[in-house]
Symmetry: D2
Subunit: 366 residues, 4 copies
């Protein structure tokens, strides 16, 4: 089978490997007439670029985006949009060890089994976090589509290890603060503590996980489908496509399991002639369809698998126990960079559903 494409009205196909020639994405189904430039895509890709901060991998990639098709005279044509990033700074020799000794927590072993040893293991190959650069390119196009409906997508780090944001921040705080610190946190003082925590653990050769919250504002009620294409299902699905994600919840999420119905139900009222709810424990989705309230999704990421501590593994060629010590260059915490990816993924699913519903037309009139 396969599985490198997702979406129905807006279809994203991703390809490329961490240490191969390129990371690529093709978006099919984008309406004609959307003004789009390389800069639009580049701006989003830059937000997740490695090597920016002391907490991130020292790998230096310029990540220059190139649009190869589907855009003509500055506007989308309705044809598939192919976008590429060339891989430049690859130190593949660091990874030769991986061929036979799977790194704990990585996909090395599962890839080895599934692909019979033919998988490109360098830098994690097809399983590297680097493939999410393709999601971000797609998210950049999706955001431009969502802007037509005035939908805004935000994301921020709400937890790194045991350090959590201290309170509910405002949307403006998210807009203002997130890209001002290296951990993508909306609360400056917490951001400082998160950075410190990461640096400390990084020095130990260890890593940390965390939680990203993503929010979509101004989503009209009625997006999504009941049953198998439900909005929350498809958002959850794409979030689990991000390497390291281990949990997804909407609104009150796991906490809802402990509430009573009378506490959890979001009661209705009318505000400015519009139906709204007094609370938003649903996270903006009921029955798989948007309620008109903000979509709120929490995404839990495990600590980076690549650590420099010595770990037990097996030699697959000889089927015996051994140990592994990784050098290579790794993020001690992928959460900050995942913020941009989570944001892009949420944007993509919403744009796909906006197109399915007919709320964005097939040709954008100037």
């Amino acid at each position: 089978m396969n599985g490198s494409s997702t979406g129905k009205a807006l279809v994203l196909t991703c390809f490329g490997e961490s240490h191969g020639k390129i990371i690529g994405a093709v978006i099919d189904g984008c309406p004609a007439g959307l003004p789009i430039s390389t800069e639009d895509i580049q701006a989003e890709v830059d937000k997740r670029r490695p090597g920016l901060a002391s907490v991130s991998t020292p790998r230096k990639e310029e990540d220059r985006v190139e649009i190869l098709s589907g855009v003509f005279k500055g506007y989308t044509t309705g044809a598939p949009i192919c976008m590429l990033i060339k891989n430049v700074d690859t130190k593949s020799e660091d990874y030769e060890i991986v061929e036979d000794k799977p790194r704990p927590g990585h996909a090395d072993y599962t890839a080895y089994v599934k692909y019979g040893g033919f998988s490109d293991y360098k830098g994690g190959g097809r399983f590297s976090g680097r493939i999410t650069a393709g999601y971000v390119m797609a998210g950049a196009v999706a955001k431009k589509l969502l802007a037509l409906l005035n939908i805004e997508v935000l994301a921020h780090t709400v937890q790194i290890s045991k350090v959590k944001v201290s309170r509910k921040v405002t949307y403006d705080e998210i807009r203002t603060n997130v890209y001002k610190n290296s951990v993508r946190c909306s609360e400056p003082e917490t951001a400082a503590l998160m950075e410190k925590t990461i640096l400390k653990v990084a020095k130990e050769g260890d890593s940390l996980g965390g939680i990203v919250e993503a929010i979509a504002l101004n989503v009209p009620a009625g997006l999504g489908e009941p049953v198998f294409d439900s909005l929350d299902s498809e958002i959850a699905k794409i979030m689990f496509n991000i390497p390291a994600v281990k949990g997804v919840e909407f609104g009150a999420g796991f906490r809802a399991a402990s509430l009573k119905g009378s506490e959890n139900n979001d009661q209705y009222t009318v505000k400015n002639g519009k139906v709204v709810t007094l609370t938003n424990n649903a996270g903006g989705v009921l029955g798989g369809i948007s309620t008109g309230m903000p979509i709120i999704v929490n995404v839990a990421l495990k600590p980076t698998s690549s650590i420099s501590k010595r770990q037990k593994t097996v030699d697959l060629a000889e089927m015996k126990e051994t140990e592994i010590e990784l050098s290579g260059r790794h993020d001690p915490c992928v959460v900050p960079r995942a913020v941009t990816v989570v944001e892009a993924c949420l944007a993509f699913v919403l744009a796909d559903h906006a197109l399915r519903s007919g709320k964005i037309s097939r040709v954008i009139r100037k």
Copy 2:
């Protein structure tokens, strides 16, 4: 668009409404030669049947399964298998109130907006938990396929409101105890407490949520795909198709966000000539592909939306605030019945991936 079908090699199409004529499921792609009988399907459907216990809805449905196609002389033919359950005990008059006054926490409002008032609102129509009977029929077929690979799927209630199982139970305890109590809990003493908790809240006209854990044993390493069709993505997706689900996590899940890499990484060793991990924080999935360890997924369900307490809502015809008090028959806690559904959904995704991978062949030889 649409969204009533799921799966790639094994495709499930669901249809029917809570108070319509039937609940139906068509499975396409089932290999030929699988021995299957109405009783096989009925046994699974009986496990989620309403009206069994004091904690569940008093609606009495016999839920007689009928196989209409795809089975010939006791074996599947390779053609699509259509299975139906007739709806019998429907008290639709209870629901007329819902037409204009959406119930908090339900899909009434989102369905109203999406379908312009044409949606069948009786008993929740297309959005009722009753549609999961279709998932269970599909799960019954999936389980027969998985049995060919010796894969076993288990599920049990691990939390109702704040009552949790006290310890890690064994697989045998799950096998033995779950269907012996009305709350589908594997720990008898905790089950008793859960029942008591539900009955107390039910008397108040209120409802409770909880958490279901599902486990798949003997899943061979190598099932799943990287990127968009990853095993965890597709399991998460189908879980969010179950009404009331608000969170899904694998292995350590949200807890992994607080762990260090050195704590969370599952180190490898060799056991009986097989690669295994010393821990299973991954929940059996790395890079979207099964590791060979048990698949472990937790599913959080919100408290039942239908409560008899008075709640604020709006009159959609007149766009003004009003209140609603529901009669009708409802589960004060859907978690126990969701156990069977979660189990079926996990089985379905695994069977689909086993077929995609070629581990189950297109014709089952006798």
Copy 3:
């Protein structure tokens, strides 16, 4: 894999066997608010019903349509529409001979190989022309959708064996004459000759093929997609789903191979403020997209495979040559009944594309 579903915005899933319990169809993606009744579907199904005329099979099926889901208070709800026809008059004993001795020209042998002998061979099972009753039910819904855009779909027999319509008939002749004769021909005198030809060959225990022309009027320019979902590709695809179809062509079709570009190109002009072409050799499709001119498609059907003449075959159990003489009840010519099916299939693809394009909205306002 599978293959019992087709369409993207409008998805049709078909199931059931010739001599099983039912023939069924589920349509997913139909907009809410379309008024629809059992009678609407029945009227189309009646047009293809067997046993009507002396030229057709003597099998007597009432073919009573039942709508099981997706329609509420006379309107579609947006949920999947399940429609069933029960099989009543099945003489399965006629077919026991087929189990080991594949009938020449039938799918008995290919089904046997593919499904390892588990296929339901009675009456052709899943491969019978009877499954097209499902297409006709779907076509009935599609026609109601197309009527919203004023699109009309017509079909008629233009050739039976060597008897062809003598001239280009008008659309009104098709509308008026087709269902007045048993061969669905638009030219009464030719119809009489076709009937005579069929009866003569039927008496010899032999069978005949022919050609059906289908036409869609008022199709707006711009329906379809370039490349893989092109309108002509998808129309051709569904036509080859009809058993016995061996060729499909658009407009000038195979004849275009002998023309010069200057003869075949349809030159443009303006008529009543609309761009039209002076000829329609394209059959209404250029680059996979409708031109606004009538869609014209010819479908060639082979003679019915089931003949009562003695034929060579093999005994699959013993792998040796043998002969077969069929009794059973068969159409000596399936072309007349295929007219209704071809019409339904063309309607289905057009409705699917009209929905994809956004020309039909997701909710039909009264």
Copy 4:
């Protein structure tokens, strides 16, 4: 919607425009372990390259294939394979006239309507025959997969205008002769006549069409599906994706409409312990499934739309009649180059179905 992807187990996504930067193809689902090199792909692409012969367009494209992903150390990895060809020799200024004046027989007008004037019209953009270079790259991979099953795919020109091959040629004649002449005909003397005919018409500024026959040998019985994914349906669908195709038929095809059942039925016999048919009017497909006999498909192509003769068209900006005279560089007959494309398309569908059926495994063991 969209439509730039096709296939189920093997998924092809095509992108790029005639005068854009590239023509690209991504194949997802190719098993791991298939040895593949740029040369393998290049060899097939060279077969359809323009500018080779006096009968073809004078546009000079080197068409250098580059593999960007999915291949590692000479073998496929199981990850998607991205292949690109850069466009070099584009004379776009020739096409500015087309923006407002649609060329008769081309997709200019339908693209204009569908994409609201945003379509890339240069060189036909997304609608150019040049996009079939992507199909050929995919076909090259497909052929390597089919070789694992010993399946061979052949294609040859059997008719140009009114010049037809004089007799049924042998497979060896096709293998030997087709790429020895510029018209891809298997009969040398007919080839010469075809060339002469094309050159004569080219001088008049006119164009010609023709028919390509494609044959697949050693296809095992049992490939394909009943109903909507039938082998003939999917072959027909992909053939109509080739610009200029107006008709597709299998085996006796349209001629079958005039035959009796006793003439058209392919009777069975046993040969070398294998079930075969005495004739092959079915063209190797019954009930949508391969019979084990050669697959035979005829594809009719219309004469090239681009001719230099003066033609009527409309000025879309002013909505009034006008005329057009094309310069630009065009094939006076696309049939010869279509031979390679038809061959590639047939190979792709067969490889997809071989994968679906499990006849090719997910990992190719060395």
